[in-house]
């Protein structure tokens, strides 16, 4: 029966490994925590049960607009119309219209902020809910690499919705994050599905070199590794600079116009450009199966982030390569970025002092020379509401220390002289795996001769125009 629905709705013949077990548990009505690597087909596991039971709305909470957009696109692509979203992009009227006609929908996507809007919560509480899905559930944990304060209220909101069946999904979650998710969402003895974080098709390589050698090496490397390839870097400026230096490369980051971002994604998806240089803004929700290589020009901040980013390679199951270029001192960029995400001690003290002297909260950002949109201000604001001064200072210190520790683990990955796969799996509390073509420590990894997947067509504008308008 599952297979029939799979065929009818999704057009697939068979489940991918692990999907069926998750769906069974969901169908039996259990709370579920599913940790599945990117590309394992997470979304199918919470979508298919809706067609099995049809007992109301499936609500999916997701942290990023781009993720929501992407998933909706895929759902609509297969002809399902019963899908809507509540995000910052909808007008008030549109939102109201959706809330007034919830029965029309099978799936409702929203951001955690939207779910917390009182009249949204109330409207949803009045409608039958089959399941509440928390996507990217690791965002709920302060130990996770992408903690989002808005996620902290989800447990409470679930209760307000009448404690519907709940499914938490994420690609990566070490033990402490897993515990946090279960606790914070009040999952009642959940069925847990932990797929191995191992991606056997990805060969792991680290190259240690001098800082000045990094750029020349990257230029060589992109000619050696199979493409399509993604190059991750830490800042927008660097992404632009690298793309300028490389042949057949485009950059992608959050500071571009929507139209240009979409053009870049579309070109990459269609193999019209071989290399994408990007910040971590790229990737979440991008479904491209044939990425052959992921190169890191800078260290990511955590091993989880690293796993997620290299996980975009080889989703078709064919061999793929993850190369990390590391020069001593590279970690300084990440340290800087970490520091920037928290208010400075001095600012915390000023904020508390001013607040206690009766300065209104709305005045504070200007006083501290902070942008009101800045998440650092959001964090400070939250601390003012919840913590004492000493507690706040301490909390930030703890948080930074934890983040530095995570960064340290990332550096260790670059430095160790043991099997890199073992190191990663150990981090996710998994047993070592033996495989051929494992990592550069286990044995030399060679790149296959490059096949040109990417097509280039530059002609004069009249020909180009004619091709775009051609029916042949």
């Amino acid at each position: 029966m599952y297979e029939k629905t799979l065929k009818r709705v999704f057009g697939h013949e068979t489940f991918r490994p692990g999907q069926r077990d998750v769906i069974e548990a969901v169908a039996e009505g259990q709370d579920v925590l599913a940790i599945m690597p990117t590309g394992a087909g997470k979304s199918l596991t919470f979508q298919l049960p809706s067609y099995l039971k049809n007992e109301g709305l499936t609500i999916i909470v997701s942290p990023l607009l781009s993720l929501i957009e992407d998933q909706m696109l895929h759902i609509r692509e297969r002809g399902e119309r019963g899908v809507a979203r509540l995000t910052s992009m909808e007008t008030l009227e549109e939102k109201q219209d959706i809330l007034n006609h919830l029965k029309r929908y099978r799936f409702l996507y929203l951001s955690p902020e939207q779910l917390a809007v009182p009249h949204v919560t109330r409207a949803l509480a009045r409608t039958p809910i089959q399941m509440l899905v928390i996507d990217e559930a690791h965002c709920i944990s302060q130990w996770g690499h992408e903690f989002r304060p808005e996620y902290a209220r989800l447990g409470e909101l679930r209760k307000q919705l009448g404690s519907p069946q709940c499914m938490a999904v994420t690609a990566t979650a070490p033990e402490n994050v897993k515990r946090d998710i279960i606790e914070k969402l009040a999952l009642f003895s959940p069925s847990q599905f932990v797929h191995s974080a191992n991606r056997p098709e990805i060969r792991l390589i680290v190259e240690r070199l001098e800082t000045e050698r990094k750029m020349p090496r990257l230029i060589e490397l992109v000619r050696e590794v199979p493409t399509p390839a993604v190059i991750y870097t830490a800042t927008r400026r660097e992404a632009e600079a690298l793309a300028l230096q490389l042949d057949d490369a485009l950059f992608y980051h959050g500071g571009m116009s929507t139209e240009d971002r979409r053009l870049v994604q579309s070109q990459f998806l269609r193999d019209e450009v071989a290399i994408m240089v990007c910040t971590s803004a790229f990737g979440m929700g991008v479904n491209k199966d044939n990425v052959r290589s992921v190169i890191h020009f800078q260290l990511p901040a955590t091993l989880e982030a690293y796993m997620q980013e290299i996980g975009r390679a080889g989703r078709d199951g064919e061999p793929a390569f993850a190369v990390l270029l590391y020069a001593e001192g590279d970690e300084r960029i990440q340290q800087f970025l970490i520091d920037q995400q928290y208010p400075k001690d001095k600012d915390i003290r000023i904020a508390y002092l001013e607040r206690d002297n009766g300065t209104s909260l709305s005045q504070l950002p200007r006083l501290l020379k902070m942008n009101e949109e800045d998440p650092v201000w959001g964090l400070l604001n939250q601390m003012l509401a919840e913590r004492t001064l000493a507690d706040a200072v301490n909390w930030v210190k703890e948080r930074k220390r934890a983040r530095y520790r995570q960064l340290g683990q990332m550096i260790d990955y670059a430095l160790i002289k043991k099997c890199r796969r073992d190191y990663l799996l150990n981090y996710f509390s998994e047993q070592p795996v033996k495989q051929a073509d494992c990592c550069d420590v286990c044995g030399e990894i060679s790149f296959p001769p490059s096949v040109q997947v990417v097509s280039k067509n530059v002609t004069d504008w009249k020909h180009r125009l004619a091709r775009i308008f051609s029916f042949d």
Binding site: L73, M89, F251, T258, E259, R262, S266, W461, I468
Partner: protein, 346 residues
């Protein structure tokens, strides 16, 4: 691609020219609002009097980026920030014909007419051609209004193939008139079933300019194209329901009341707006209407006096205000608006 850092690009020239056109009579902030397309009375007047309408709303800078731009202009020795005027070096860069030609082709963005027409057409072509070739696609436009519009259109029964052929013909003919580099910039932004449009960086490489200039070529090309196609062109269907009127909606409402024979006081009481707001509306009428009854607002001899007193090439109100007795700033603005349109009263 070349590193843009120390080179001078046409896009710089366009921005320098905009500073030059302000003749030191307006502030940094004034230009900021023009670049961002703020539809306030002051900003519309600045754009009108100082020939900045072509760039109105085309450079949506943040305050931070705008400051960075001015700092870099100053550092490179092109700009005096104290007076907000160009140095000799800056004037040199603003002076080539290529700069003013590009500048004046840009057209400006008033009611989202140009942008929305582009979004609709490009999304429609991508959608239609992809469906036709049974290719899945990733929409290049994320604009909900454009999306909804295209969705409705695509569903309607029409002789689409014939229409598409006409669109193609109209585009090609118009682009031949507009010419390169504009034509290349426009065509390479389109996305079809098999080819994705280029980013401004990629177009820049094709045209051997920087990305900002490539963007201006696209904007100028698209604007010129819309003005070049015949009035009955089928492609203008994509502008359906859009207006490219410069006048604000609010001023338009007041104008309609005036046209129906209401007096200033009646318009004000019907609309329940302040005197100064209605005055701003009247200034808009004086700026944008072909025919405007100036003598209803300013005595004939005063009109002539303002024209005589005005220093050539200046649109500063204050000197006139100080030299006359019974004229308000409002009245001087009205006379200026008509003078600017080329009328003369002496």
């Amino acid at each position: 691609m070349r590193e843009g850092g120390r080179m001078v690009h046409l896009a710089d020239g366009v921005l320098l020219l905009s500073i030059q056109r302000l003749k030191g009579e307006r502030s940094e902030r004034s230009l900021f609002h023009v670049l961002n397309g703020k539809r306030s009375a002051t900003t519309l007047q600045d754009a009108f009097f100082y020939d900045l309408e072509p760039i109105f709303g085309l450079f949506p800078y943040t305050k931070y980026d705008y400051e960075k731009l001015l700092v870099s202009f100053e550092k490179r020795g092109w700009l005096n920030r104290a007076t907000f005027t160009l140095t000799e070096a800056g004037s040199m860069l603003a002076s080539p014909d290529a700069v003013s030609q590009l500048f004046d082709r840009l057209g400006g963005e008033y009611r989202d007419y140009t942008t929305m027409t582009w979004k609709r057409l490009s999304l429609f072509i991508q959608t239609f051609m992809s469906l036709e070739h049974e290719r899945t696609f990733y929409p290049v436009q994320a604009d909900r209004m454009a999306e909804r519009w295209v969705k409705q259109i695509v569903r309607t029964e029409r002789e689409w193939k014939e229409l598409i052929a006409s669109f193609h013909q109209e585009l090609e003919t118009a682009l031949e008139t507009v010419g390169d580099p504009y034509a290349t910039a426009v065509v390479y932004r389109f996305t079809g079933a098999f080819e994705t449009g280029y980013t401004y960086e990629q177009i820049a490489t094709l045209l051997d300019v920087d990305a900002r200039t490539a963007r201006l070529y696209f904007l100028a090309g698209w604007n010129a194209l819309l003005r070049t196609v015949p009035r009955d062109a089928k492609i203008l269907g994509f502008a359906h329901g859009l207006s490219d009127e410069r006048m604000t909606l609010s001023a338009r409402e007041s104008f309609d009341l005036f046209s129906a024979g209401r007096t200033f006081a009646q318009v004000q009481s019907i609309r329940r707006l302040r005197t100064s707001t209605i005055e701003d509306h009247v200034v808009e009428m004086a700026m944008y209407l072909d025919d405007f009854p100036l003598d209803q607002f300013v005595p004939a001899d005063a009109i002539a006096e303002v024209e005589r007193l005005r220093e050539e090439d200046s649109w500063a109100l204050k000197p006139i205000f100080e030299k006359t007795d019974n004229l308000s700033y409002f009245q001087i603005r009205l006379v200026f608006a008509r003078l600017k349109r080329g009328e003369t009263f002496v």
